[in-house]
Symmetry: C2
């Protein structure tokens, strides 16, 4: 949809040099936890956000039990913040992992995209809220 692709373009532009975000999930007791995640800088937002993760990790277990997550991007020095609210899923497809794999990821993961020890976390935001200097607003993506 045209409206949707304009909205996605606006979000992509805001995200461009915000590489790291915090991914918040909810554990089985209802407590919220976050950890830093990298977009590897080079991937343009097209409606989904992708991260590689160890398959055997708390965030993967938490997402499988409760897929509603939040992504926070922050650059406090320039007063730019983005919050994305959406659903996450775990993607184990080898082709998708190869497609998104980058050499730099070897810093974080011993195995390459071929190993089952590494999965993708796909986050599909439905609402994006942003604060960009004096400008702020909310974008509905779906």
């Amino acid at each position: 949809m045209a409206g949707d692709s304009r909205a996605i373009g606006k979000v992509a532009k805001m995200m461009r040099d915000l590489d790291f975000c915090m991914l918040t999930t909810r554990d089985e007791d209802g407590a919220l936890h976050a950890r830093p995640m990298s977009n590897n800088g080079e991937v343009e937002f097209d409606g989904d956000v992708w991260f590689f993760s160890d398959a055997d990790s708390r965030k993967v277990r938490e997402i499988e039990a409760e897929p509603r997550v939040e992504l926070s991007y922050a650059d406090p020095k320039s007063y730019r913040f983005i919050s994305m609210s959406g659903e996450a899923s775990i993607v184990r497809d080898a082709d998708k992992k190869r497609e998104l794999w980058m050499k730099e990821l070897e810093r974080w993961f011993d195995g390459g995209p071929e190993t089952d020890d590494i999965v993708l976390i796909k986050v599909t935001p439905t609402v994006v809220e942003y604060w960009n200097g004096e400008d702020s607003g909310e974008i509905e993506l779906r």
Copy 2:
């Protein structure tokens, strides 16, 4: 407790020049939302994190319905991140508001601490996770 005050001191030190954080709450549909919040820089962490807020705001309503929240502090350029998981409560006590009020807050809030339109959000973290360059870990506060 001595152990607790050492842990609090360690967290306070890490937070010292991370003024802004993202406060994540859960809405009545189970979706997670975050927004930037300021500690006003000058307040040393003593086990609780305090923010001023408009009384009539979504975050206040969400906290009253579901007090489990998360605070994310991020300085991606120096690879420093803190995630605090804990419980929030709304404090309307005028003495506490006067105690924590600062002149700079007039930028965000029209009324002073005397007005009922402004409340305090008190976040009491139970677990603090941190990533500080090559160092990372988890601190239990309670």
